[in-house]
Structures are given as C-alpha cells and as structure tokens.
C-alpha cells in the first residue's frame, strides 16, 4: 500500500514539476520556477523514500510482496540480498529512476548556473515521469494475493522466497547493473540539453555544459559494457567476452552514438560547425537507450536469443512503444520546426573542413553506421517478422562481416585524424608526420605476418590498429608536453588501438580442445599444456571446486573451475577458471564429472527414506540419515562432522543386517567411511542430497562396489573430469585497452568539466 502510494505521489510531483518548469519557460513568472524546482525536489525525495522502503521490504524478508518472494530468500548474503532490488524488471526500472533522481539533483544546480534550468528540467522531468509511469504499470509493490487473485488467499505470507537465480549470485551482480543504469541515466542529460537548446533557439552554447555529461555517460556506460564482458568471460563461462547478444548490443549502440557525438561536438566548440548534427546525435543517444530498452524488455525478441526475454504484459509492452514514440516524436517535431532556424557554420569552418573537421565527421559517421548496422542486426526478429511473418535472428557472423571493415576504417581514421587535428597540416608536412607511425605499423604487421597472421583482412586489421597506436602515441606525447589535460583524446585512441589488437589476437587465434582428465593421471599436450585433475573440494554448502594442475614448461598453475548442482532450477551450474599468464589466458571450462564407477565394479543407487533397491543380488534399504543434533552443532562451529546413512542390507537369501557408511567433513575436506560386507562388497556414500524444503524428498546416493570386480579391473579408478580447455592469446590487451580508453575519457571529463565551469562567453583554452 505505502509503496504504491509513494510511486503515485512521486509521479504527481514530477508531473507538477514538468508543467511548472514549462510554464516558466513560456510565461517567465518566478512563481512557476519556484514551483517547478520545489516539485522536482519533492519528486526526488519521494523516489528516495520509495527506494528506501522497497529495500527495507527486501532486507526484512517481507515475502508477502510478490517481488521480494520472487527474487530473494533468507539464505542470501547481505550484498546479494541488496542486489535483488534490481534482479527483476520492476526493480531495475526503480533503480534507473533512482539514479535519474540522483543525477537530477546535480543537474538542477548545474543547469541553473548555465541559465538552462527551466528547459532542461522540463525534458529531464519528462524522462523521469516516463519511468515513474512504468513503475505504476509494473508495480514492484504487488502483494502475492494481488498478483494471483483467487489463487492465493489474502494475508498469506510465504516463510521463504524463491531465491536469486544462481547465475546472478555473483559479485558482478552487485555492481554491474548499477553502473549500467547510472550510464543510461547520464545519457538523458545531453538529450535534455539538446531539446532545451531547440526550445530556447540557442543552438551554440548548450554544447559546453552538455559535453562533460556526454563524456561521463560514455565513461560509465563503457565501464558497464566492459564489466558485462568480463562477467560473461570470467564467471558465466561463455568462453568469450563478447557474443553480439541483444543484451550486450543494447548497451553498445547508445554508447557508439554517444562517442560519435563527443567527436562532432568538439568541432562545434572549436569552429562552430555541425550544429544540427550535434543536436541529432545527442537526441539519438537517448532515443537509442529507449529503443534498446524496448528490445530487451518487451519480449519482442521472443525465442531468438540466448537470453530469455520475459513478456512484461500487454500494458508494459505498449508503454515501452509509447515511450519511443513520444520521445522520438517530440524530438522530431522540434527538430523539424527549428531546422531552418539553426545557423549555418561560419566561413572559417568551411575553409578548414577538408583538413581536419572532415576526419571528425567521417569518424562520427562510421560510428553511427556501425551503431545502425548493429541495431538492424539486433532488430532482426522484428524485421523478419514484418517481411516474412516469421521471426529469425541473424548469425553472429553478420556482425563480424559488417563491423570489422568499419573498425579497420575507424582505426586508420583515429591515426590520420589526430595527426590532422593537431598539426594543422598542409600537404607535404602532413605526409611527413605520417611517416614514422606508418613505417612502424608496416613493420609490426610484417613481423606478425611472418609469425602467424595469414589472412589479408586480419593483416589489414593489425596494420590499422598498429598505425592508430603509433600515430596516437606520437601525437599524445607532443600534447602531454604542452598540457596533459588535452591528451584525453589521444589516450582514448591509444586504448582503442590496444583493444583492437587484443580482439584480433584473442578472438582469431584462440585454440580450443575438449579433454577428459582422469583423476591423478596427467594428460600431456592439451594445447601444449600438461593437465592433472587432482580431485574436488567443497567450497560451501553446494559448490565444488575441481582442482586441475596446469603445467607449461617451468610454469605451474592450479586452476579450480566450479561445478555444482542447484535446486533452484534443477540444473548443473558451471563456472570456469582462468590461469592468467600475462601473454595469454589458459581457460578451463568444466563440462561434467564422469564417475568411472562402472568399470571399477561400482554402481550408484539413489534412495529416498524407506526406499529399497536391488544391486545385483544385494537389496539395499535406506532407513534414515545418521546425523545427531550434536553433529549439527559441530558443523556450525566448523568442527569435524560425521554424516551417516543407516541402511538395511540383504545379500541373496541371507539375513537383513544394518550398516552405516558415513562421510566425514572437516573444514572443507571430505573423507569417506565405507562399510565392507564380507570380502565381496563395499558400501559408501557417493553423495548426499538433503532437501531443506521438503524433508521427505531428501535422498542419498549409495556407492556399491564389487570388490572382486574391482580387483580384476585395477586400471579403472577415480573420476574423469570433462572440460574444455582453451588458450586466449593476449586477452590482457583487451582489458588494458578498455581501461586506457576509460582513462582517456576521465582526462577529458576533467578538462571539459573545468571548461563548462567557466562563465559564459569566456573562451576556454583550446588546442592550437
């Protein structure tokens, strides 16, 4: 009740704020400005209260709320419990609203000092209003009996929740969505500024306050994209860091638009060009955020992706479409009306166009084309549905064939463009500056062709990236000697070049092999490595680490990929492990553990309490667990624990007799205490499957070993770990490249932030 009221109150306050700010823009009466500002701060306060209340429901396990029941449980650690706040759609929209509010506080103050407050806050408030509408439609405060009326009696409170999907139970879940949504939120600021500029007919000056936000958005979203890639690579075991998945693409596309507009706004500040381009690009950044949200939240991609896209219901579906129509439509109308009004660039701009502005424009154009091609690919199910009436997705090869040529082009351009921009080169002198990086790049490429690279396209990519690297280092050093704050662009381009080299090496030259590792037996030359599976160790209640020694020459590593069975969805979860060797990663993804019991005369039977099963002529009945209360106390204290399985065993027509094989667990190590039946049989506990929710479903796996058969088959002993090993050369270049790009962005934020703080009309220090 309280939650829904708070959301509606925030909506009302936000609506009042938008209307008042707009009225102030039209009428200029101080009252409207005060009302707009006050109402906005009330909105922010109410959003904070809503989020705080929502979080308190989660932390205090109020499972009568559908959302809390659906995503959390009592077993989760506090950070993960907090992360269930945004594990579902409703909560993630709330997180987005929350970040929008946080940024909004700064924006009110920032835009006020720039004289943009009423217009900027009209549009920014409109975005917040849209998200609050979503929260009214997809109410996170529904109670279970409201979610399923008639099926659940009012007042019913489950004692525990369903828990968080184990795929998400990871520290990345705590940080990654937060970064992504704060990135999406910062993208709204340039949009609000661009729309404000159109409304105010002030097409030149909005760029200065908007630029730091643009670069901030690119930095945060870029960090988020990288984290997502690292999460997929390091924990989810997707094998790579990028899979052109709709979810990944949907954060990449707005980022590309944002980066494109960072480039063209540079020219507007410097020489007054690209006024219309900048307005369109700043608007597109945000519209693409909305479109991406529609793609990944509406269920429209349906069955065509690795991710499952939950159908949010008819209302939310149409609301998502309405948001795109409203914001894109509003922008289009305003652009249309003002198009002729936007002043033409000055004569000086036209003169310099063919030397350096053009490189910027073409670079931005290439980024936009890349973004549009990716959007077309991601939207494939929609396009094919319209064309053929049947949904189908594009193969990831589509992205590779279309984006790689553009990437080569962009890499070359970053080199040429930087040299042009900083050297104001004319003919002869320009060619002179090209010489050093050009020769170095040719040299690098030749060396790599000699060593490995054979395909022309790959060689071209290597050349382009190497050229970009050397050219930008050359320019970067020169700039840093003058004013290090100006070197942000060069640094970002160096990072891009390093990243591209990393892409080529790790994606094109990775090697993969599926291997079977028998316990204790070294496997030689799996991709040139010697691997030995040494056994498994429990890490916590359900997870097991499978330890594999990796030897490569004199180097020794131990990797421990994780596999475990989860009752959340009755599935085997697998996490890879990586040995990082500076020049390459050795990546081991577990597939399964084959228990070689058959060949060793061992069979496993799964038994519930009271159940009996036959193994050859042996009848085994599982009576109960032998787990005294005292042992439970010992377990909690981390002491040695003994868990037994009380069995009744009858051999042939002999007498039934009780035996109790057991497992002893001490600080993570397990030891078996098997029981022998004469000299023919040995019984042990192969696995325990306690079911905390329904005790009657608890099961035990009993290993039955025929000792005579085992003697005759001495070779077969121990388990076999199936795993996929791969070597990813120079993958560290990818990560370090991304980090260098982000550092470049940060340098730029500092510079543009200081510039934006200058009083209007004062010309900032510029490059020569």
């Amino acid at each position: 009740m309280i939650g829904s009221i708070l959301v509606k109150a925030a909506f009302a306050a936000c609506l009042l704020s938008v209307v008042s700010y707009f009225q102030y823009h039209r009428k200029g009466r101080q009252l409207y400005l005060t009302a707009g500002r006050t109402a906005y701060f009330v909105t922010v306060a109410t959003v904070f209260a809503t989020a705080g209340y929502f979080l308190s429901l989660i932390l205090t396990h109020q499972f009568q709320y559908t959302y809390v029941w659906e995503y959390s449980s009592r077993e989760l650690s506090t950070p993960l419990l907090v992360s269930t706040f945004y594990a579902g759609q409703e909560g993630s929209f709330m997180l987005w609203t929350l970040y929008l509010s946080v940024i909004g506080i700064f924006l009110v103050l920032h835009s006020r000092s720039k004289g943009y407050e009423p217009e900027v806050m009209t549009f920014y408030g409109l975005i917040e209003l849209a998200l609050l509408t979503m929260l009214i439609v997809k109410n996170p405060f529904l109670l279970v009996w409201e979610s399923w009326p008639g099926q659940v009696t009012a007042g019913f409170a489950p004692t525990n929740g369903r828990g968080l999907n184990p795929l998400l139970q990871n520290y990345w879940m705590v940080i990654h969505p937060q970064v992504l949504f704060s990135g999406f939120s910062s993208m709204s600021v340039p949009y609000a500024y661009a729309m404000a500029a159109l409304l105010k007919r002030d097409y030149r000056n909005w760029i200065r306050p908007a630029t730091p936000w643009l670069v901030l958005g690119a930095t945060i979203l870029g960090t988020g994209i990288m984290m997502g890639g690292f999460w997929a690579y390091e924990t989810l075991g997707w094998g790579g860091y990028w899979g052109w998945d709709p979810v990944e693409n949907s954060s990449l596309v707005p980022w590309l638009f944002c980066v494109a507009s960072i480039h063209t706004t540079l020219s507007q500040r410097k020489s007054g060009g690209f006024l219309r381009t900048n307005l369109v690009l700043a608007i597109m950044c945000f519209v693409m955020v909305l479109y991406s949200t529609f793609l990944t939240r509406s269920g429209v991609l349906g069955e065509t992706s690795v991710h499952s896209f939950v159908d949010p219901g008819m209302w939310a579906y149409w609301l998502l479409i309405a948001l795109i129509v409203v914001f894109a439509g509003l922008s289009a109308v305003l652009l249309w009306k003002r198009w002729k009004d936007v002043p033409r660039p000055p004569e000086t701009f036209r003169q310099s166009f063919y030397t350096r502005e053009m490189a910027l424009f073409i670079g931005a154009g290439a980024l936009v084309i890349a973004a549009l091609l990716i959007t077309a690919g991601t939207s494939s199910p929609i396009i094919t549905d319209i064309l053929h009436g049947k949904k189908s997705a594009v193969d990831t090869s589509y992205y590779v064939t279309t984006i790689v040529p553009l990437a080569i082009f962009i890499a070359l351009l970053t080199g040429v463009g930087q040299l042009l921009w900083w050297n104001r080169a004319n003919g002869a002198e320009f060619w002179k500056t090209l010489r050093a990086p050009g020769l170095l790049a040719v040299g690098t490429t030749l060396v790599l062709v000699f060593v490995r690279v054979s395909e022309p396209m790959v060689a071209l990519f290597v050349f382009a990236a190497a050229f970009a690297l050397f050219a930008n280092i050359q320019v970067g050093i020169k700039i840093a000697r003058g004013n290090p704050k100006f070197a942000g662009g060069s640094v970002a381009h160096i990072g891009l070049a390093v990243m591209f080299l990393g892409f080529v090496a790790s994606a094109k030259y990775d090697r993969k092999e599926t291997i079977a590792l028998a316990q204790g037996k070294p496997v030689h030359s799996a991709l040139g490595y010697t691997l030995t599976y040494t056994g498994y160790k429990p890490i916590d209640k359900e997870r097991y680490a499978f330890q594999v020694d990796v030897e490569h020459g004199a180097q020794r590593y131990t990797v421990a990929p994780i596999m475990y069975y989860t009752s959340y969805n009755d599935a085997l979860m697998r996490n890879p492990d990586i040995a990082n060797m500076y020049t390459k990663d050795f990546y081991l993804a577990p597939l399964s553990l084959e228990q070689k019991s058959d060949s060793a005369g061992e069979q496993t039977v799964e038994l519930k309490r009271g159940e009996s099963k036959m193994v050859d002529d042996l009848k085994i009945t599982f009576v109960d667990f032998d787990f005294p209360v005292m042992e439970k106390a010992a377990m909690l204290e981390g002491k040695e624990v003994r868990i037994g399985a009380k069995l009744l065993v009858k051999e042939g027509s002999g007498k039934e007799r009780p035996v109790t094989p057991a497992k002893v667990i001490k600080s993570g190590e397990q030891r078996d205490e098997p029981v022998k039946l004469g000299d023919a049989w040995e019984l042990s506990i192969a696995a325990l499957h306690p079911d905390r929710e329904a005790k009657e479903n608890s099961r035990v796996d009993i290993g039955v070993r025929n000792l005579k058969a085992a003697q005759t088959d001495a070779a077969g002993q121990g388990d076999v770990l199936m795993a996929e090993a791969s070597v990813k050369p120079f993958i560290n270049l990818v990560w370090s490249g991304v980090i260098i790009v982000l550092v470049g962005f940060l340098v730029t934020i500092v510079r543009r932030g200081q510039e934006a703080a200058l009083p209007a009309g004062v010309q900032a220090a510029e490059e020569p």
Binding site: V144, G239, V306, S308, S392
Partner: protein, 130 residues
C-alpha cells in the same frame, strides 16, 4: 555543397546495400523438425531437450548427441560438434544451428541454450516455499 551530398549519398546507399546483403546472408531460418528435414539446408532448429532419452558425449569424436523435441512434438536426434553447451540442463529450450543429414540426424555446429534470466513464478510454488 553538391559533391558532398553526392559522395554522402553514395556512401549511405553503399552501406545500406552491404548491410542488407550481409543481413540476408546471415539470416538463418528458424524451423521445426519437419521443416529441417524438408529443407536439407542450414537452419536453426528450435525445440526442447528430451531428457527422457539418452544423451552422451563421445570424447573420441568430440561430439555430443541428444534428442530434441520440437513444439509439434516431433523428435529428432541431434549430433553437435563439441561438448554439451554450458547451462544445457538449465535451458528451457534449445536452438540447434546446422543441417539435417542423409544419415537421419541433425548435424549441429552450434547449440544455443535459452537460459531464463528469470523464471516465471507460478502461484503453485508459493506453497513450496511456505
């Protein structure tokens, strides 16, 4: 101004053609078992893993074999080059990319598992957790 527009138009048209060509090339049709058998070309076969039938991994040939049941309920043996994809057991449905062979099985080069980022909650589950 004129040459700028012409060059721009050529570039844009060029990319539209290039983009749509790649788009058409890499668009692999989704189909069911009957469709895969009828077409005999590269398709994406959609269905669910039939857990009742045996699935196995052959370490020698590095192939994973399983049975797939499509929405129409028709079964098909699928042989995948490589090991069982990650989260295979978890998948609500799988998409096998490849072609139907004359030997009477679907030869897949890639199997995508559809991993629910979220599972639809059912009211019946409420009782389990209470």
């Amino acid at each position: 101004m004129k040459p700028k527009i012409i060059i721009g138009a050529i570039v844009v048209v060029g990319f539209i053609i290039f983009g749509s060509y790649s788009f058409m090339q890499s668009n692999v049709e989704y189909t069911d078992v009957a469709g895969a058998i009828a077409k005999h070309k590269k398709v994406q076969l959609k269905g669910a893993w039939n857990k009742a039938k045996e699935s196995s991994y052959d370490a020698k040939s590095s192939q994973f074999t399983f049975w797939l049941t499509d929405d129409a309920g028709r079964e098909c043996k699928v042989v995948l080059d490589g090991a069982a994809p990650n989260n295979f057991e978890l998948a609500t449905s799988v998409v096998a990319k490849g072609r139907y062979t004359d030997e009477g099985y679907f030869h897949a080069t890639e199997v995508l598992t559809k991993c629910p980022s979220k599972y639809e909650a059912q009211p019946s589950e409420l009782k389990k957790t209470s």
